[in-house]
C-alpha cells in the first residue's frame, strides 16, 4: 500500500501474517551527490531532501561545517537563524495539520463551504479542497463531524492558506525566498536585516497570533474528541530523541528544544554511539568503502532487504522523534517551565503518563500544542534582535578547511543530524539522518524495530479494508512523515 498525502512515496510492505512495515522509495542520493563538493553546497542542496524540513537541513549542514572548523557565529546571527528555524516550524505544523492530517478525518465529499455560499470565500474553500485535497484524496468515507464543525474546518483551512502565505513571506524576509532559503552561510545569516525589517516581521506576527496560538490547537483537540480511538492507535516504543534548536546564548539560556535521548526511561546525553544499520535496507557498502560509515550503493534485490530507509540507532536502540519527543524529554528533564502547561494539557487530554503518550492523538496534540510556545519565542527573538549589529561573523575563512563535524538540530518532524568530513575544503564524507529516517527506520540486524514499524505492529492489517487503510494513513501522518526526507 502506498500512503497518500506523504511527501514522496511511502510504500508499506506486508509480511505473511499481515504485519506491515515502512519501506519508503528509492532515494535521490543527496549524500552521494555532495561528495567532492563545497560544504556550502550541502547547505543548499540538502534542502531538496524535504520542503518541510529544508531550513532545518540547511542549519544542520552549516553547523556541521562550523563544528568542523570551530568557526565563530555572530550572536545576532544565532538569534536570526533561530527565528527563521522556528518560523519553518509554524509553517510546517499548520500545513501538515490542514492538508495532510485532517483529510484522514474529514473527506472531500463532506466539506461544507463557509456561509457565503456563492461568495469568494466559498469558492476558495471549494478550490482549496478540490485542488489540494484531491491530490491526496482517500476513497470516500463517512466523517463523524456535524455540519457546523465541517463548515468551521473549511473556514479554518482558508485561514490556514493565508497564514502559510504570511509565514512564507516572513521567511523570505530573512532567507531571501521560501522554499529553499538562500541566506544561511558559515558565521550567521547573510541578510542585513534592518529596523524596518524587524518591524515588518513583528507586524506579520501580530496578525497571525490568534490563529496560531489558539485556533489550530482547538481544531486538533476537537478532532481527537470526535475520534477517541486515536488515543490508543499507533502506540510507539519507549525511547525518544531530541537534537535541540540553537546553541545556548551567552546568558546560558538553553534553546527552546532539548538535546537528549530517553532510553529505557532514563535521560541521557548524547554519549552513546549513533550508528546506521543497512541490514535490511537496499544498500551495501562498496568494495573499499567503510571508514567513517557507509557511503552506500544501492543494492536492489539484496537478500533479506525490504526497505529503502536506513536504521539509525542510539546505543543500539531505536528512538522516536518529533514534537512528542521534544515534549517528553523537556518535561522529564525539568529543563524549563515553558512547556509544562503543554505537558499538562497532553496528559489531561490523553489520560496517560507523558512518556506513554506517543499515540496518534499524543503526537498531534504535542505538535499543535507546541505552536504557542514557538510563537512566543519568535516574538521574544524579534525583541532581542539588534539590527545595527552584524548578523554574520566572517572573521574565519573556511575555504581550505580540513576536519570533521556534526550538525544537529530539530526539524518540525524531529531530529536531524548531518555528519561531514571535509578535506581541503571539499566534502569527503557526508551522512544525513533525517527525522523521518529515525521514525521510518527499517528493522536492523538485531531485529530491533523502528518507531513507525512498532506503531504499525500493533496488529495485522487487511489492506482491502477501507477502515484499516484509513487507520494506517492516520498512524503514518501522526509522525508528520516525509518519504523523501527519510531516504534523501
Amino acid at each position: 500500500m502506498i500512503v497518500p498525502r506523504v511527501e514522496g512515496t511511502l510504500q508499506l510492505v506486508q509480511e505473511p501474517g499481515g504485519r506491515l512495515r515502512a519501506a519508503g522509495a528509492r532515494p535521490r542520493g543527496i549524500e552521494r551527490l555532495l561528495l567532492g563538493r563545497s560544504p556550502l553546497e550541502a547547505v543548499y542542496l540538502s534542502q531538496q531532501a524535504s520542503a518541510h524540513s529544508g531550513v532545518s537541513h540547511a542549519l544542520a549542514a552549516v553547523r556541521a561545517w562550523e563544528d568542523a572548523g570551530k568557526l565563530p557565529v555572530a550572536p545576532n546571527g544565532v538569534l536570526l537563524r533561530e527565528l527563521l528555524h522556528l518560523l519553518s516550524f509554524l509553517h510546517g505544523h499548520v500545513q501538515h495539520f490542514y492538508f495532510q492530517t485532517l483529510p484522514d478525518y474529514l473527506p472531500l465529499s463532506a466539506w461544507v463551504p463557509p456561509l457565503d455560499e456563492n461568495g469568494p470565500a466559498a469558492r476558495i474553500a471549494s478550490g482549496i479542497v478540490t485542488s489540494a485535497a484531491k491530490i491526496w484524496e482517500p476513497p470516500p468515507f463517512q466523517s463523524r463531524f456535524d455540519e457546523g464543525a465541517r463548515r468551521r474546518f473549511a473556514e479554518r483551512t482558508v485561514e490556514a492558506v493565508r497564514t502559510l502565505s504570511s509565514l512564507q513571506r516572513m521567511m523570505s524576509v530573512i532567507g531571501g525566498k521560501f522554499p529553499v532559503v538562500m541566506s544561511i552561510a558559515p558565521g550567521g545569516i547573510t541578510m542585513a536585516l534592518d529596523e524596518a525589517g524587524v518591524l515588518r516581521l513583528l507586524e506579520y506576527l501580530q496578525h497571525l497570533e490568534p490563529f496560531l496560538t489558539e485556533a489550530v490547537l482547538d481544531d486538533g483537540l476537537s478532532l481527537i474528541d470526535r475520534y477517541p480511538e486515536t488515543l490508543t492507535l499507533g502506540k510507539g516504543g519507549a525511547n525518544f530523541i531530541s537534537l535541540g534548536s540553537t546553541p545556548a546564548d551567552e546568558t546560558g539560556e538553553a534553546g527552546l528544544f532539548p538535546t537528549s535521548v530517553l532510553l529505557g526511561r532514563r535521560l541521557q546525553g548524547l554519549t552513546l554511539p549513533i550508528t546506521e544499520s543497512i541490514g535490511r535496507a537496499y544498500y551495501r557498502v562498496p568494495r573499499g568503502g567503510g571508514g567513517h560509515g557507509p557511503i552506500v550503493e544501492e543494492a536492489l534485490g539484496k537478500p533479506g532487504a525490504y526497505s529503502w530507509i536506513k536504521a539509525p540507532r542510539v546505543g543500539g536502540s531505536a528512538v522516536e522523534t518529533g514534537a512528542i519527543g521534544r515534549l517528553v524529554i523537556t518535561q522529564l528533564a525539568g529543563i524549563h517551565g515553558r512547556a509544562s502547561g503543554m505537558a499538562a494539557l497532553v496528559q489531561e487530554q490523553l489520560g496517560v503518563p507523558l512518556e506513554e503518550s506517543n499515540t496518534v492523538a499524543g503526537r498531534i496534540v504535542a505538535r499543535l500544542g507546541e505552536l504557542d510556545l514557538i510563537f512566543r519565542r519568535c516574538r521574544e527573538i524579534l525583541e532581542k534582535l539588534a539590527p545595527g549589529e552584524p548578523f554574520l561573523d566572517n572573521s574565519a575563512d573556511p575555504s581550505g578547511l580540513s576536519g570533521e563535524g556534526v550538525g544537529q538540530i530539530e526539524s518540525p518532524s524531529g531530529a536531524v543530524r548531518h555528519h561531514m568530513v571535509v578535506e581541503d575544503g571539499r566534502i569527503g564524507y557526508y551522512d544525513i539522518i533525517a527525522a523521518s529516517t529515525w521514525n521510518g527506520s527499517s528493522q536492523d540486524e538485531n531485529e530491533v524495530n523502528g518507531p513507525l514499524d512498532t506503531a504499525l505492529g500493533q496488529r495485522a492489517w487487511d489492506l482491502q479494508d477501507g477502515d484499516d487503510r484509513l487507520d494506517l494513513s492516520r498512524i503514518v501522518h501522526a509522525f508528520a512523515f516525509s518519504a523523501t526526507d527519510a531516504v534523501h
Binding site: T9, T130, I135, P139, V180, M182, T190, M191
Partner: protein, 343 residues
C-alpha cells in the same frame, strides 16, 4: 465580469514585467476558472518533494491552489497510489494541459484501470515541465530520462514548455497557464523556457549591478557589494527573480546576500564543473562591464571556466552547456550507484 482575452493577456504581460501583483494573479486565475471549456489541468507529481507544492500553496492570494476551482479538475496522481481518481478519456471534455513535476515512468500501467500518464500526455494540449529536475534532470533525473519524456511529447506533437527553478517562481505557472488558455504557446527560448519569464538574466536587473560596474565586490559572505566573487551565477541565470523577487516581492536570493545558483539553467547543479558556488570570473577593479563582456563573449548561457576559488582548473574555452552539463548531470548525479535487478 468576465475579462476579455485581450485583458487577460495584458495582465499576463503585467506579471511578466512587474512581478506577482495580486490583482494580476487574481484576474488571470479567475478568468481561466470562469472560461467555458477551459482546458482541464493534470498535475503529475510522483514521489517528488513538496517544494513546488508549498510555493504554490503560499503564493499571493489567490494562488493556483485557491483558484483551481472545480473547473480545473486539478488532479495529481501517481499510478502507484491506489484510491486516487485517475484521469480517464471520459473525464476530459477537451485536451488537458499536463504539468509534469515528475517524469513519467516508461511503460507504467495505471492502477485501478485508469489511464497511465503517458497516454494522458499523448492527448495533451501542452506539457509543462515544472521545476529544474523535470526540465533538465537537476538532482533527480538522468539526461536519458529527460530525453525519453521529451520524445514522448514529440511523438504526439504535444508542445513542450519548460518552467525551471528550484522551486519555480509560482507566478510563472499561473501566467503561463493564462497565456496558454487565451493565446497559445508563448515564445520559447532554446531551452523551451517562455521568454516572458526567462528572457533576461538575473544580472541584468539586479539591484547590485551598479556595484559590479564599479568593481565593488563582496569578498566574504555578509559583505555588501556584487556577489560575483562569492560564486554568483547571475550573469548566466535566466529567470525573473531580480525583477520580480520572491514571496510576494518580499525579498530574493541576492537581496538576502545569497549568491544566485542559476537554479533555472540546464547545467544546474554541476554547471560544467564549477558547482553552485564556483566563480564565473574574478571580476576586477574598475568598471565591471569588461567582466561581463568576457563572460558574454564565450557565449550566451556558457560558463566562463577559469581557475575558480574551488581548486579546479578547467579549460578556458567555449563549451556547450546543454551537451556538456547535461551529460555531466547524467553521468555524475547518481555517482557510481549500481542498481542490480533481482537475482
Amino acid at each position: 465580469m468576465p475579462l476579455t482575452r485581450r485583458e487577460v493577456l495584458k495582465w499576463v504581460g503585467v506579471t511578466a514585467a512587474a512581478g506577482p501583483l495580486l490583482p494580476a494573479m487574481e484576474r488571470i486565475a479567475h478568468a481561466i476558472a470562469e472560461r467555458p471549456g477551459a482546458a482541464p489541468i493534470v498535475w503529475y507529481n510522483a514521489g517528488g518533494d513538496h517544494n513546488n507544492f508549498l510555493a504554490q500553496l503560499g503564493h499571493a492570494f489567490p494562488s493556483l491552489m485557491e483558484s483551481a476551482a472545480i473547473r480545473w479538475n486539478l488532479v495529481s496522481y501517481d499510478p502507484l497510489v491506489p484510491g486516487v481518481r485517475e484521469p480517464s478519456p471520459d473525464s476530459f471534455s477537451s485536451a488537458p494541459i499536463v504539468i509534469l513535476e515528475s517524469l513519467p515512468p516508461s511503460g507504467a500501467d495505471a492502477a485501478d484501470g485508469g489511464e497511465p500518464i503517458a497516454t494522458v500526455i499523448g492527448r495533451a494540449k501542452a506539457a509543462i515541465f515544472l521545476g529544474t529536475d523535470a526540465c533538465y534532470g537537476g538532482t533527480r533525473w538522468t539526461a536519458a530520462e529527460v530525453e525519453s519524456a521529451e520524445a514522448l511529447c514529440r511523438r504526439s506533437n504535444v508542445p513542450m514548455i519548460k518552467l525551471p527553478g528550484v522551486p519555480v517562481p509560482p507566478h510563472h505557472l499561473i501566467g503561463t497557464l493564462g497565456y496558454l488558455e487565451f493565446r497559445g504557446i508563448p515564445d520559447l527560448d532554446r531551452f523551451q523556457r517562455p521568454q516572458l519569464y526567462y528572457g533576461e538574466t538575473v544580472c541584468m536587473r539586479c539591484e547590485r549591478r551598479w556595484q559590479l560596474e564599479n568593481g565593488e565586490y563582496a569578498e566574504s559572505f555578509g559583505d555588501a557589494g556584487c556577489l560575483l566573487r562569492l560564486g554568483c551565477k547571475g550573469p548566466i541565470a535566466h529567470n525573473s527573480c531580480a525583477a520580480q523577487r520572491w514571496n510576494g516581492g518580499e525579498n530574493w536570493c541576492v537581496g538576502a546576500g545569497g549568491p544566485c545558483t542559476a537554479c533555472s539553467e540546464p547545467g544546474y547543479p554541476l554547471h560544467g564543473g564549477l558547482g553552485l558556488y564556483g566563480r564565473l570570473a574574478e571580476g576586477g577593479p574598475g568598471p565591471g562591464s569588461s567582466t561581463l563582456n568576457r563572460i558574454r563573449a564565450i557565449g550566451w548561457g556558457f560558463v566562463a571556466l577559469a581557475a575558480a576559488g574551488v581548486g579546479l582548473k578547467l579549460a578556458h574555452e567555449a563549451i556547450d552547456p546543454i551537451g556538456q552539463a547535461a551529460k555531466a548531470s547524467g553521468r555524475d548525479r547518481r555517482g557510481s550507484s549500481s542498481v542490480q535487478g533481482p537475482t
